[in-house]
């Protein structure tokens, strides 16, 4: 069975589906027996969720107006 260090190194690639089948099988065997790495996997999912939830960044009305006018001026050239 692979060591915890190797398993942790693969967790994000596993979640990204950027891992080959043999490595995936080794990781899943490890996760079936290792509570610590299951915790690491859950935490990796939480960090990913945190990032994906941050996609929106409100554009202030004044900044939107400036950009809108900037686009208009470009179009007038």
């Amino acid at each position: 069975m692979i060591a915890c260090r190797d398993a942790v190194e693969r967790l994000w690639s596993y979640l990204d589906r950027n891992i080959d089948q043999a490595q995936e099988l080794e990781l899943e065997q490890h996760l079936g027996l290792c509570r610590h790495c299951c915790g690491e996997l859950e935490f990796a999912k939480q960090v990913r969720n945190k990032l994906s939830e941050s996609a929106e960044m409100p554009l202030a009305p004044t900044a939107r107006e400036r950009l809108h006018k900037f686009v208009e001026r470009l179009g007038e050239r």
């Binding site: 990204d16 915790g39 960090v47 994906s52 941050s54 900044a63 179009g75």
Partner: protein, 197 residues
């Protein structure tokens, strides 16, 4: 405004092409360069480059992808001129584990959801500030992959590199992000009992 509502043979005006994507461009720029004014400046630079190139835009069904590529090119040009930020997380610290550090340091001793509660300390501004401590190329890969959901091969195409390089940047970026979140929480006094340094 729906770009696709235009008659098939009529090329949309530049404004029609870009206006629906201004909010996205600004949010993306904020993730890449942090400050509001710097982000707005980067979006304006992107718009100028897009305006110069839009006559030759062949695939008008993917303006967001096209604008993303231009913004990335504009931001890469800026970073080439800049010195590394003083708060950049060192690249050599790849063995750091935020998961283990939280267990060992127990920074939120009254929490029964230690890891989740640590992440809850970060609102969008704090998360964005932590992202700014990551090397620019790594931050770019992280933002494209985990904030906007691009695949590694798409990131490679968008940033003009190989998929292998993108995967390496994602790996190092994730490690830097863990360290950056921990250091930021400590330095900004987000952890119970900590004082701002």
């Amino acid at each position: 405004m729906d770009v696709h509502a235009a008659a098939p043979e009529a090329a949309p005006s530049f404004a029609m092409l870009v206006e629906p994507h201004l909010d996205y461009l600004y949010a993306f720029a904020r993730k890449l360069c942090g400050e509001r004014m710097a982000a707005e400046d980067l979006v304006q630079d992107t718009l100028v480059r897009a305006f110069r190139a839009h006559e030759s835009l062949r695939n008008r069904e993917r303006p967001r992808y096209w604008l993303t590529k231009i913004l990335l090119s504009a931001s890469a040009d800026r970073w080439r001129k800049e010195a590394p930020h003083e708060h950049d997380v060192p690249l050599e610290d790849e063995r750091f584990s935020l998961f283990d550090t939280l267990v060992e340091e127990d920074p939120l001793p009254y929490s029964d959801r230690l890891h989740l509660d640590f992440l809850d300390l970060f609102d969008d501004d704090n998360l964005n500030a932590s992202l700014q401590r990551i090397h620019a190329a790594h931050r770019t890969a992280l933002v494209l992959a985990y904030v906007y959901g691009y695949k590694a091969r798409e990131i490679a195409e968008l940033t003009g590199t190989t998929t292998g390089t993108v995967l390496a940047r994602l790996h190092r970026g994730r490690k830097q992000l863990e360290k950056a979140l921990w250091e930021y929480a400590k330095q900004r006094g987000l952890l119970k009992g900590e004082t701002r340094t």
